[in-house]
Symmetry: C2
Subunit: 328 residues, 2 copies
Amino acid sequence: MTIKIGILGYGNLGRGVECAILHNPDMELCGVFTRRDPESISLLTPGVEVHPVEEAISMKDAVDVLILCGGSAHDLPEQTPQFARYFNVVDSFDTHAKIQEHFEKVDASAKEGNKTAIISVGWDPGMFSLNRLYAGAILPGGHDYTFWGKGVSQGHSDAIRKIEGVKDARQYTIPVKESLEAVRSGKNPELTTRQKHTRECYVVLKEGADQEKIREEIVTMPNYFADYDTEVHFISEEELLRDHKGIPHGGSVIRTGTTGWKDENGHVVEYSLKLDSNPEFTASVLIAYARAAYRLNKEGVSGCKTVFDIAPSYLSILDGEQLRRQLL
Amino acid sequence: MTIKIGILGYGNLGRGVECAILHNPDMELCGVFTRRDPESISLLTPGVEVHPVEEAISMKDAVDVLILCGGSAHDLPEQTPQFARYFNVVDSFDTHAKIQEHFEKVDASAKEGNKTAIISVGWDPGMFSLNRLYAGAILPGGHDYTFWGKGVSQGHSDAIRKIEGVKDARQYTIPVKESLEAVRSGKNPELTTRQKHTRECYVVLKEGADQEKIREEIVTMPNYFADYDTEVHFISEEELLRDHKGIPHGGSVIRTGTTGWKDENGHVVEYSLKLDSNPEFTASVLIAYARAAYRLNKEGVSGCKTVFDIAPSYLSILDGEQLRRQLL
């Protein structure tokens, strides 16, 4: 008996989920739902159909877990509460400031339908959050640091693309090495935004665009670049497609803290990721939590959960005794 | 209402637990139990009494969680099943090959008493195991690597101390830098024991001992040193006490794996610890899981658990909404 997975939204993340299913022998893709014309989409998995999103609810009994692969800005705030009434769902809602509000809506909806929803799954929020919790529980009174990158920020790349005269762009977030080392050494530095990350931009101009004007517009852009040291490189479209087509990311969560009667001993806990593909790794986390959603619902658990609420064993294909024998 | 903690066994680990309680405002030390003469022990915490271990069971209603701080070789295999019938307990049983057997005995006993037991808590087994599980669930088909150190191995130090002519010794386990880098780069090297770690020994001789004979005896010792490149340094007792009095440890759990339809993208997940005091960090993990044992038992959960079975939120002093708002 495999776990039947539905995917809602077939962009980079949806395709990542499709690939992740291939790596998990207890899972099976049973359908993809889209707002686009289903005819325009061709899946990697043979024999699986693409359906218009309007048909999803009528197929609810065929799907064990529906993975919502839309965006956090516009799609998930609507979709997760909507579908959590009919399906066990997992999403990657990542607007940190709105997670609690999202949680409450999804919780009410999932409870109405006796379904299990797990929100904000991925690596940040997700695995990074988990590591903040674990390290914080072990070292109370310590200091938390999160560094992102080197990796492509989709939001910052989009912000550059919206500038007049820009044809395409890719933005990398890069942690400042000296700051990272200072944190790892246990020095507990206080770091400004500028001291933590730099931003590197690769920009393709439209014909006749004013290079210096665009550079200025990027480096002074409030919220996105003004508070950072930003490097701008103008390159050809060919170079962009050749050298910057991947979507790598990663980063580190570090907690430093002390123990002992007089805080005489210091400790550094670090969790770090180096990812060739941000959406595929995120999708792999989603799939592991889909297994948990399925199992929890079978046990009669309903409502909204986050990574904090899920015992790790629910993520693994191994049973309790196998886990104790092989991994403990 | 604080959680009342009892400590059984007042060595380095027990003292570490006592210090960890100080860092957790929801906890209180309510008693220490010992097999030694209680008069011979003076606690750091004012106003707390030391009792002979025989009195423990008569005090069961005063203790919310009993933390068992004995050794895995002789103490815990007896003590944890014995006390899990009367107390919620947490132990750091670390003989990997015997965990399942220990689990079964403790489970039967805890269920009889409607108590919650959590075994094999610490960093390895413990936090390292958790990271093996999480990364394994996300990247099925990948490769796991565990490196230990730089840190003091108590077992290896003891093995040297048993050699005739040795007065005292300290052994450091050190990961081989090149191997660690090869793993981090995603090369998936196959590594022999010798390629993963080296061993560095600081030895104080008794008067008249034969230095070369002892060096030979160390480096050829089966299981402990024969399979490693081992450096032996002979130093004075004064130097040993001055330069090697700490009990640092640490290490890294690394998983590498691929995603994508054709495994075209590689990922590296690393969890690493750098600890000034191995027993105090282990004790800090024990205390976080004591909070979980207390809460689970209040919810009516009984039997034996491991870190795999405990939802992370049970470890934190924060409630669900605080966790979502502050850490997710």
